[in-house]
Amino acid sequence: MSPPLLGVEEGGGKTSTVATSPSIDGVSHDCLGLKERNYLGLSDCSSVDSSAVSSLSDESKSNLNLKATELRLGLPGSLSPEREPKLCLLNTGKLDEKPLFPLLPSKDGICLSLPKNIASGNKRGFSDTIDEFSDLKSSKYTEGNWMFHATGPASETAQSGGQGKFPGNAGLKAMLPSRTSGAQSAMPKEALPKPASECPRALNGTGVNQTRASNNAPAAKAQVVGWPPIRSYRKNTLATTSKDNDEVDGKPGPGALFVKVSMDGAPYLRKVDLRNYSAYQELSSSLEKMFSGFTIGQCGSNGTPAREMLNESKLRDFLHGSEYVLTYEDKDGDWMLVGDVPWEMFIDSCKRLKIMKGADAIGLAPRAVEKSKARN
C-alpha cells in the first residue's frame, strides 16, 4: 500500500483530501474498490447459495469485519489509517488479475464512480452515487444481499451480476456501496491470499473475514455479469420475495429489520439491518465503520446492559467525551439513547437511528439514567 494514501488517511475519512492522481488510483481503488461488503445479512440471503451463506454467517456473525465494508461517509479516497494497509495487502494480489479501478469503468460500472469521486471531493454528484444498481434500493429489499462481481463464487456473484447494490437503503447514496460492491466483486472472485487475521487491527472481534470468498465459495462455476438477464430491480424484488417465502433453508428469523441511520452533518442516510447484530457492540462497530470520522468508541458503554450504565457521571463523561452519540426513535416516537435496554428489546422498539452530536444528546442522558435507575 502506498504511503501517500496512508498519509491522506490520517484523521478520518471525512475531511481528508483525496488524492486525485491516477497513480494513486491503483492503490486507492485497491483499498477502496475492493472493500468487501459483507454488509448485512449475507446470512439472510436466501437467494444466495445457502451453503455459502451459512458458512459465512457461521463464522462471521460475530466476525463481521466491517472494517472491510468501507462505507465511508467521507471522501472516496479516505480510509482510516489502520485499515488501509491490510486492504491493500490483501488486494494487491487480486488486483493484478483484474484491474478494478482502471481509468475505464469496471465491468459493472461500479468502480467508475471512484475516479469521479476522487476528483470531485467530498460530495458526490448524484449521478456518481446512484447507478442503475440502486434499483436494489428502490425495491424494498430487506435481504442485505451483497452483490458480488460476476465472476466470484456463484452465491455472491450471481446475486449481482456485478451489482454491489446496497440493499434497500433508502437514504443510502450509492457512493460508498457502489464502490464497495465493486470491491466485493473482486474479493470473492479471487481467492484471497491472506486471511483476515492479517489485518493489523482486530476489530473487537467483529470483522468479517476478508477472505470471505474463501469461506463460502462452493466450487461453483463463476457467475457472469448480467446473467441470467434479469433486471436489477427485479432481481432484488425476487430475492426478497423468495426469501420471505422460503422456509426450507431454515433461515432464522422473520426477516431483516432495516432501520434508517442518519447522522448529523452527513449528506445522506444509511440503513442497517438490526437482525444482523446480536449486541450493541456489533452495531456500534458497524456504524462506526459506516460513518467514519465519528467515534462511537464509547459505545462500549452504550452497549452494556442497562444496569451497568447507571452511572450518571459515566454517561456524562461519555457524552462529553465523544463527539457523537447514538440515539434511536422508539415506537412511541421518542428519541432515546442507545444502550439502555437489552438488545432484544431495543430491536423490537427501534424504528430509526440517529447519530447526534454529543451536545445535542445531553438532554437524553438524564432520562436514560432515570430509566436505568427506575429499572433497578
Partner: protein
C-alpha cells in the same frame, strides 16, 4: 425519420393536383393517424404530405436518443405534445453498460423548454434523469401532464417532490424499476390539497414509506384515478381504505400482502375488492400469503393481466386464484409455481396470450427448483393463443420446443432463457439448434427472439433463412464462428436490433453487416472477438453510423471491447464520457 428526398416539381404538381385539399384539411385528416410508423410512411408520399404530417404530429417516438438531436426533432415537428425517448442499450439493464454512459435528458429538456413549451407528456426508458432535470421539467412546462420513467436512473425522490409540487395538471406519474435514490416518501405529500387531476399513479418500485394520510386524501379527491400501484409499505388495511375510495380503478398494484388480519378486517378487505368491478390489471401482492389471496377473488372476474412477480406463490395457490380469472390474457409468475403451476395455467387460462415466468432464485444452481420444459409444454397445449413468452428455466429439450411451437404457431415474441449458459438439450445432450430452428420455421410472425443454451452456427443459419419478420434478436453464449452472425445479418430482412454478448464473433462477422446497419436501429456486441481494428474499419466505411467502443473490463485478456453501433443523423455524440470511444 429521415427527411424524404425532394421530389421534382413535376411530381409534386401532380400530387397537388390529385389531392386538392387545402393543407388544413390534409393536416386534419393526417392528425387522425396515431401510429408513428404510419406517419413515417405518410411523410414520404410527397412534399405536401410531408409538411402536413409534420405540422399535425403531436407525438414523437425516438427509439434511440442519440440517433437524432433535439434540435432536429424540434425543427421538423413544431407541435409536439408528447415525447417518448429511449436511451441506453438494453443490456444496461443487466449492468453491461457502465455508469455515466450518457442518455441524459437534460439537453432534450433544454430544447423542449424553448420549442415545446406546451409539452404534456414525457415517457423515458433507460435515460439518465437528474433531480435538476425533474425540477426544470416541473418549472418550465405549465401544461405538463404525464411523466413515465422506466428503468431510468440519476434521480431521487426529491425530484419527484418537485413534480408533485408544481405540476398542477399532472395526470400520470409512473415510476418503474428505476435507479432511484429513494430518500423518503415525502414527495407524495407534496401534491397540493386542491390537486385532483391524477389518473395514473405508480410508485410500486419505491421503498420508502409514504405518508398514508396524504395518499388517502389524494386518492379520495382524484376522482379520475384509474391506475394505482402502491409500494410495499402500504399494508392490507391501508389498501382497503384506498380501495373504497377508488372503486373505479382499472389497474391496481397492491402493497404488501403480508399482514395479520382479523375477521373483520378480512371481510372489509374482501368487500373492498368486491367493489372494484373494473379491474383489468392486478399486480403487487408482495409476499402474498395464501391465506389472504381469496380476498382478491371478487375483483378478478374481468382481469386480463395478472402480475405475480412479487408473490412467490406455490402451485396450489396459483391454481385456486386462476379459477377466478376466466378472462386472463397476460400472466407473469415466478417459477415457484413450478411445472404444476403451469399445468394449472394450461387448465384455467384458455385465452392466455402472454406468459412470463421469472426465476425466483436466478443464481441457484439447483436444477430441481423452478420450471422445466414440461411446464412450458403443458401451457402450449392449454393456451393455443399464446404468442408472447418469456421463460426462464433450467432445462429444456429440442423436442419440447418443437412441440410447443407446433401447438402455438403464432408466436411473435419467443424469449427462452436456459439459465445455465451453453447448456445442451438435457435429454439428448445435443445443442439446442433444432429447438430454435423449429421456432423460426414454424412461427412465421416472429418479431422478437432470444436464444439460449448450447447453440452452434446452425441455429443462426436457421434464423437467417427463416425468420423473415424478425426485428429483435438477443444472443448470449452461443454460436461457433463468424458464420453464425453473418447468416443473421445476411438473412433477416427486418432486423432492427441485434444484441450479442459472449459469442465467438469477430471482425469478419461485424463487417459482414456493412450493408445492413443503416437499416437497423442498433447493434450491441460485448465480450465477443471484435477488435479495435474491425471497429475502425466499420466506422471508416460507414460514416453515418456511430461506432462506439468501450473497453470491456470483464475480459480476461483486456482486449475485448463492448461495441455499440447505431445509425444516426446527429453525428458523433458530444456528451460521450471518456471511456466511450467514438470512432
Amino acid at each position: 425519420m429521415d427527411p424524404k428526398k425532394p421530389r421534382d416539381s413535376a411530381e409534386s404538381e401532380s400530387a397537388r393536383g390529385a389531392a386538392q385539399f387545402p393543407d388544413e384539411v390534409l393536416e386534419r385528416v393526417l392528425s387522425l393517424l396515431a401510429s408513428h410508423k404510419d406517419r413515417s410512411a405518410v411523410s414520404l408520399v410527397s412534399k405536401a404530405w410531408y409538411h402536413a404530417e409534420r405540422w399535425s404530429r403531436r407525438r414523437v417516438f425516438i427509439g434511440n436518443c442519440y440517433s437524432v438531436t433535439p434540435e432536429i426533432v424540434a425543427r421538423r415537428f413544431p407541435n409536439i405534445r408528447s415525447v417518448t425517448l429511449k436511451g441506453k442499450p438494453r443490456f444496461s439493464d443487466f449492468n453491461l453498460v457502465p455508469q455515466n454512459w450518457g442518455a441524459d435528458i437534460r439537453s432534450w429538456l433544454a430544447v423542449f423548454a424553448d420549442r415545446y413549451p406546451f409539452l404534456e407528456e414525457l415517457r423515458l426508458k433507460r435515460m439518465t434523469v437528474t433531480d435538476e432535470s425533474l425540477k426544470f421539467l416541473a418549472l418550465k412546462f405549465q401544461n405538463f401532464r404525464a411523466l413515465s420513467l422506466l428503468s431510468c436512473d440519476g434521480f431521487s425522490t426529491n425530484g419527484l417532490a418537485a413534480i408533485a409540487t408544481r405540476c398542477r395538471n399532472l395526470t400520470e406519474l409512473d415510476i418503474q424499476e428505476n435507479g432511484i435514490d429513494d430518500i423518503s416518501g415525502d414527495w407524495l405529500s407534496c401534491f397540493p390539497e386542491n390537486f385532483t387531476s391524477l389518473e395514473v399513479l405508480n410508485f410500486a418500485s419505491l421503498s420508502s414509506d409514504v405518508e398514508f394520510d396524504a395518499l388517502e386524501r389524494l386518492v379520495s379527491r382524484c376522482n379520475s384515478l384509474k391506475v394505482l400501484k402502491v409500494n410495499r409499505t402500504i399494508t392490507l388495511d391501508q389498501l382497503q381504505r384506498l380501495l373504497v375510495r377508488a372503486p373505479r380503478l382499472t389497474e391496481l398494484g397492491t402493497g404488501s400482502f403480508l399482514q395479520e388480519l382479523n375477521a373483520h378486517q378480512y371481510s372489509e378487505l374482501e368487500r373492498a375488492f368486491g367493489g372494484c368491478k373494473n379491474l383489468h390489471t392486478l399486480s403487487g401482492l408482495c409476499e402474498a400469503m395464501a391465506l389472504y389471496l381469496p380476498v382478491l377473488y371478487p375483483a378478478c372476474a374481468n382481469l386480463t393481466f395478472l402480475n405475480l412477480n412479487d408473490a412467490a406463490l406455490q402451485h396450489e395457490e396459483l391454481a385456486k386464484l386462476l379459477l377466478h380469472c376466466p378472462c386472463l390474457q397476460r400472466l407473469w409468475v415466478l417459477d415457484t409455481v413450478g411445472d404444476d403451476g403451469l399445468e394449472a395455467v394450461a387448465l384455467n387460462c384458455p385465452w392466455l396470450e402472454e406468459l412470463r415466468v421469472f426465476p425466483a432464485n436466478p443464481f441457484d444452481e439447483e436444477v430441481n427448483h423452478g420450471v422445466s420444459e414440461s411446464g412450458f409444454l403443458a401451457v402450449s397445449y392449454g393456451c393455443r393463443r399464446l404468442h408472447y413468452v418469456l421463460y426462464f428455466c433450467r432445462q429444456m429439450t429440442n423436442a419440447a420446443v418443437a412441440t410447443i411451437v407446433q401447438n402455438c404457431p403464432d408466436f411473435t415474441h419467443f424469449r427462452l432463457c436456459i439459465m445455465n449458459p451453453g447448456q445442451p438439450d438435457y435429454v439428448t445432450n445435443e445443442p439446442m439448434d433444432e429447438a430454435f430452428g423449429a421456432v423460426v420455421k414454424t412461427c412465421t410472425k416472429l418479431q422478437r427472439l432470444a436464444v439460449s443454451g448450447l447453440l452452434t452456427d446452425l441455429t443462426f443459419e436457421y434464423i437467417g433463412r427463416y425468420a423473415k419478420n424478425l426485428e429483435t434478436l438477443s444472443v448470449a453464449f452461443a454460436g461457433s464462428s463468424d458464420w453464425a452472425m453473418q447468416c443473421v445479418l445476411g438473412g433477416c430482412p427486418k432486423l432492427r436490433k441485434l444484441e450479442i454478448r459472449d459469442c465467438p464473433f469477430g471482425n469478419a462477422a461485424l463487417l459482414s453487416g456493412l450493408e445492413k446497419y443503416e437499416s437497423m436501429r442498433s447493434l450491441w456486441m460485448s465480450a465477443c472477438k471484435v477488435t479495435m481494428n474491425g471497429c475502425e474499419v466499420l466506422a471508416r466505411e460507414r460514416p453515418r453510423l456511430n461506432v462506439e467502443v468501450m473497453k470491456d473490463e470483464e475480459s480476461s485478456d483486456g482486449q475485448q471491447y463492448k461495441v455499440y453501433v447505431y445509425r444516426t443523423v446527429a453525428g458523433p455524440r458530444r456528451d460521450a464520457p471518456p471511456f466511450v470511444l467514438t470512432l
